[in-house]
Symmetry: C2
Subunit: 215 residues, 2 copies
Amino acid sequence: MSWSGPSSGGSGRRGYHHGNLREALIDAALELIAAKGPAGFTIAEAARLAGVSPAAPYRHFRDAESLLAEVALRGFDRFTEHLTKAWKGGQPDTIRAFEDLGRAYLSFARREPAYYAAMFDSHLATEAHPGLQAAGDRAFAVLREAADKIVATVPADRRPPALMMALHIWAMAHGVASLFVREGPSRRKLPMPAEDLLEAGVLLYLQSLGLAGAD
Amino acid sequence: MSWSGPSSGGSGRRGYHHGNLREALIDAALELIAAKGPAGFTIAEAARLAGVSPAAPYRHFRDAESLLAEVALRGFDRFTEHLTKAWKGGQPDTIRAFEDLGRAYLSFARREPAYYAAMFDSHLATEAHPGLQAAGDRAFAVLREAADKIVATVPADRRPPALMMALHIWAMAHGVASLFVREGPSRRKLPMPAEDLLEAGVLLYLQSLGLAGAD
DNA sequence: TGTACATCAGTGAACGCGCGTTCACTGATGTAC
DNA sequence: TGTACATCAGTGAACGCGCGTTCACTGATGTAC
């Protein structure tokens, strides 16, 4: 049989070796980020949460930023997966799938605020963490692919650049997520769920392309 | 004659009393935020920058967060002023003024990154700092007013809620600003200035309302 | 199957650091008379 | 105009704290033979 980890039966560490410290540290980081934001997490506290001495994390991560970068990277991977599932290759139809994509963007921000913060709120120096930029690119690529499909249904003479469209949607989705889903002085009280706001925005945008049927 | 401050001739402090410490601390905070983000500023370092002992700031601010909140509040006030100027009451015409408003949003984020970060990136607890929420509201009100004017030019039967429209524009502008103007793993290389991206987005959006003349 | 050994993944003590905050204090300023 | 005094806005020393990081170490694990 193979359980989750080498020496763990599920209820935490066993003996001298933790068995799965790397994962435990990432979980701890997520917990701390969720509670206090990306700036409020420290290696020391993550170690404490994982039940391990403060020196132990250095066996797995060079420093705090590397741990944070790993969290962000995994976040992007999950995000990509989440968006891909929602897009479903453009099924049942392109417009519907596109709306689902928008909703998925927000639901990720809502349900995984720690990942989202690590990804978008941590001010990581991209170049110092290879793979991170690429992971972000992969997430964007889902949007880009969807935009390609949408744009292809527009008559050639009024077809906007798919890249531009993807950027617009990305910006609007991100704007809604950071303004209306997260705490802060700029947050408005919304008279509607953020999801509905975004969906309406996307629909209006698509209308301008002659899509999504005028009302 | 009245110069800038009680005992300052412009070249810094004079004697035992600083003369304008409150302002100097705010300037120092802006400088630090610009350099290291809202999380990377400390009262101690701000005091050092202002050439004053670490205890001095406590005569003017209860703690670091209060100072940050003051910075954010001033940022919102400047932002409001900046947007108001750009909107010009809807001159020369509503559409043009609306585009100017969008550009102004971005140019503020670009030219005042420290203020912008304090306003949108600092995760202040709004309720703990009275006036802050109101200042944010005033900034939004400029957009709201503009949306009202725009919407009024649309035939009544396809007139969208002005509030919704203001929220969409706010979200798109904020999304563009935080994704493409600031550093981070989610930042795309843009094949165009962010201002152009936003303007195109706003125009497309307005087109969906039958405004801004279809191309 | 047993044993020696290399390697791995932890410990825990220690270090220097900078921060937030307090305290009694003191120099400077302004004002009442 | 001068003086006593209250108030204000600083000082600087001190405190406790938690963090990042290092170091020599050691317990556990796996593997060659």
